[in-house]
């Protein structure tokens, strides 16, 4: 037997090893963000969707600069030969009822809509997270905030947005304000619940016995644990705000004719659904593509940022 060969007289003598040997951790060093990216990129759909998101973002921020599209430029309004042109090489999405290039218009619109949605999401998330943190931590804040929450959440969101947009007149910043003015409270409420779940875990008590302040505990102990749920909430908010902009423009309380937005395009072109379907279908398709790709990327990233998914 080959094993027997390994045995010699020396084999059965005592042999001491350094105590610290068994303390060495042989698992490869762990890094949170590396694991997040690795998990994220292990999903093929996520990669495809990420490429789409990147393309959409690039298109909507670069294309309008090149095309120099102006929604109020109606130079072809008296030139019927440029109206209702079907998609072609010159006009990939065709032209509309006053001869504007729909391709240029859609990307300019996407820029506005994305800008509104992203700004509203950022405001909602930042305010919501900060308020939610203290809300979840302090009993006194909780007593006040829960009443505020009850009042606001009992008024329909659409009604609030409509009233604000009517009183403030139409405009991009007004719309952003209207969208984020009350929606932060549901993010805050969501964060509050999460905070309450992990607030009393032993490691937070330990931090307190070591003299850590509430602010330090919030930023070092709680926030890192909420990355995953925050990404989930963001990935829901962006498409949500895009569709809200579309919806508001559709019912006529969103933006004015002065700027292009996906909502306005869909709204104005809806009446040509029968006669020139491309005018309606293509903008809707782009809107859907933006929402879905953003949502899937966000959800996959949320999963990837949950350390429980890093083991496999």
């Amino acid at each position: 037997m080959s094993e027997e060969k390994l045995i010699n007289e020396d084999s059965f003598t005592f042999y001491k090893v350094d105590d610290s040997v068994s303390e060495v951790i042989s698992a490869p060093e762990y890094s949170y963000w590396k694991s997040v990216f690795k998990t994220f990129f292990s999903s093929k759909i996520a990669i495809i969707m990420l490429i789409i998101v990147a393309a959409v973002l690039l298109m909507s921020f670069i294309h309008p600069m090149i095309s120099g599209y102006d929604n109020q430029d109606m130079s072809n309004i008296n030139n019927p030969s440029e109206w209702f042109l079907r998609p072609s090489l010159k006009h990939p999405f065709g032209t509309d009822d006053v001869g504007r290039d729909l391709f240029d218009m859609v990307w300019a619109g996407a820029r506005t809509s994305l800008f509104i949605a992203i700004m509203a999401t950022v405001i909602t998330t930042v305010i919501g997270t900060i308020v939610g943190m203290f809300w979840g931590f302090s009993k006194k804040v909780d007593i006040v905030m829960i009443e505020v929450y009850n009042i606001i959440s009992n008024i329909p969101f659409t009604l609030i947005v409509m009233i604000i947009s009517f009183t403030l007149k139409a405009g991009i910043w007004q719309l952003i304000f209207a969208l984020s003015c009350t929606s932060w409270i549901s993010t805050a409420y969501f964060i509050r619940v999460q905070v309450m779940i992990i607030r009393d875990r032993e490691y937070n008590l330990a931090s307190r016995t070591l003299g850590s302040s509430t602010t330090k505990i919030i930023f070092h102990n709680i926030l890192p644990y909420l990355i995953s749920v925050l990404v989930t909430s963001i990935s829901r908010d962006v498409p949500h705000f895009i569709s809200y902009e579309v919806f508001l423009s559709f019912i006529g309380v969103g933006l004015t004719e002065r700027v292009a937005s996906l909502g306005r395009i869909v709204q104005t072109n809806a009446k040509y659904m029968q006669s020139a379907p491309y005018m309606f279908v293509l903008p809707v398709f782009v809107t859907a593509l933006i929402s879905i790709s953003l949502y899937i990327v966000g959800q996959t990233l949320a999963d990837a940022s949950d350390p429980r998914n890093h083991m496999i």
């Binding site: 390994l6 045995i7 059965f12 003598t13 005592f14 042999y15 105590d19 890093h310 083991m311």
Partner: protein, 357 residues
């Protein structure tokens, strides 16, 4: 001697996929379970003791698989079962498990009674009325007073000990052949623990099932076990009757476990402690897995895996120390005359009597 083997494990190897690496959690374990006996599997977390018994009911985590070996139960190799339907014929029905945390086994939104009778209806084909009768009887059996009235209560209305009793009742509803108790009392208080252990022992007699007890508490082992298997780093390193393991242990790891019992410590003196940390699954194990922590390791321990040496007909240990060529080593002083030392503890004189002098 004729032994009735109810479950037989041969050369079992279990692997897990973790962060792109295949790690071996169980390394060639063979073990026969004798019918009607209580086998205690002792080991620390990560030793593979839970993984080992999970293979008997097909409950390995999704990233784990049996990569080698066989498990024979009722003449069939159950390690090859892949279909969940086939597992349902065994899991819960013939081999039931009681887990550490009773809340994980109970559905919080269903009544206690519903959860017990559901199992009876499903596996024994009884009617609703009959099932309720049996369920109430079972609840009384596991020591729930006023069972008929508590039948419609929800798990949260029960205390931890009571919940564990219910889990046991559910496990017994199908009259299993084998009951796996995976640290059933670790989450419970000592006084409740003592009662649950007693209950399982009584029920084992009455229902005639074989018990596999997973624990790291040597006190519990001493109480319940007929046979003890000591696991370390995915292997069984020592196996024997309970008295053999406590009074005549052979493996340095078993020595270490017994020596570090706080009961054997003299106040003020240092307690014996096994050095270091058990190996993680990421660690490549060569030779004897315990060697880096052992005080008795020899050169060969780092090169070759020791075979199972026979100590007696019922007692085996996997250590090179039992090789005839190895130097003679006696077990540590601390655990010699273990029984006498423990006896002395139960009747050790207090300071009062000294004060009287």
């Amino acid at each position: 001697m004729e032994k009735n083997i109810i479950l037989s494990v041969k050369d079992l190897e279990v692997k897990f996929k973790v962060r792109d690496r295949e790690l071996t959690a169980i390394r060639n374990v063979s073990l026969d379970f004798e019918e009607g006996k209580v086998v205690a599997i002792v080991g620390e977390s990560g030793s593979g003791k839970s993984v080992f018994t999970k293979t008997f009911t097909g409950m390995l985590d999704i990233n784990g698989r049996i990569s080698n070996g066989e498990i024979y139960f009722e003449g069939k190799d159950i390690s090859k079962i892949t279909d969940d339907k086939d597992w349902e014929q065994i899991r819960g029905k013939k081999i039931a498990t009681v887990f550490q945390d009773p809340m994980t086994s109970l559905n919080p939104v269903r009544t206690i009674g519903y959860q017990i009778s559901e199992v009876i209806i499903k596996h024994q084909g009884k009617s609703k009325e009959e099932a309720k009768q049996i369920a109430i009887e079972l609840m009384e059996k596991v020591g729930i007073k006023d069972a008929a009235n508590r039948y419609d209560e929800y798990p949260f209305m029960y205390s931890g000990g009571m919940r564990q009793r219910i889990v046991i009742a559910i496990a017994l509803a199908c009259r299993p052949k084998i009951l796996i108790c995976d640290e059933p009392t670790t989450a419970l208080d000592v006084t409740i623990q003592a009662q649950i252990i007693e209950l399982i022992k009584e029920l084992a007699k009455e229902y005639e099932f074989t018990t596999i007890y997973i624990t790291h508490d040597l006190g519990v082992v001493a109480n319940v076990a007929d046979i003890v298997a000591v696991m370390y780093a995915g292997q069984i390193v020592e196996y024997g009757l309970v008295e053999e393991i406590f009074y005549n242990p052979q493996h340095p790891y078993t020595w270490g476990l017994l020596s570090s019992l706080p009961q054997l410590g003299e106040k003020g003196d240092e307690l014996f402690a096994i050095k270091g940390t058990p190996p993680s699954l990421f660690q490549e194990i060569k030779g004897d897995g315990f060697a880096p922590r052992s005080e008795y390791s020899m050169k060969i321990d780092f090169e070759l895996e020791p075979p199972m040496f026979k100590v007696s007909d019922t007692h085996y240990a996997k250590t090179w120390l039992l090789d005839p060529r190895a130097p003679k080593v006696e077990k540590p002083k601390t655990i010699q005359n273990l029984h006498e030392k423990m006896l002395a503890l139960t009747s050790k004189g207090g300071v009062y009597s000294d004060r009287d002098k």
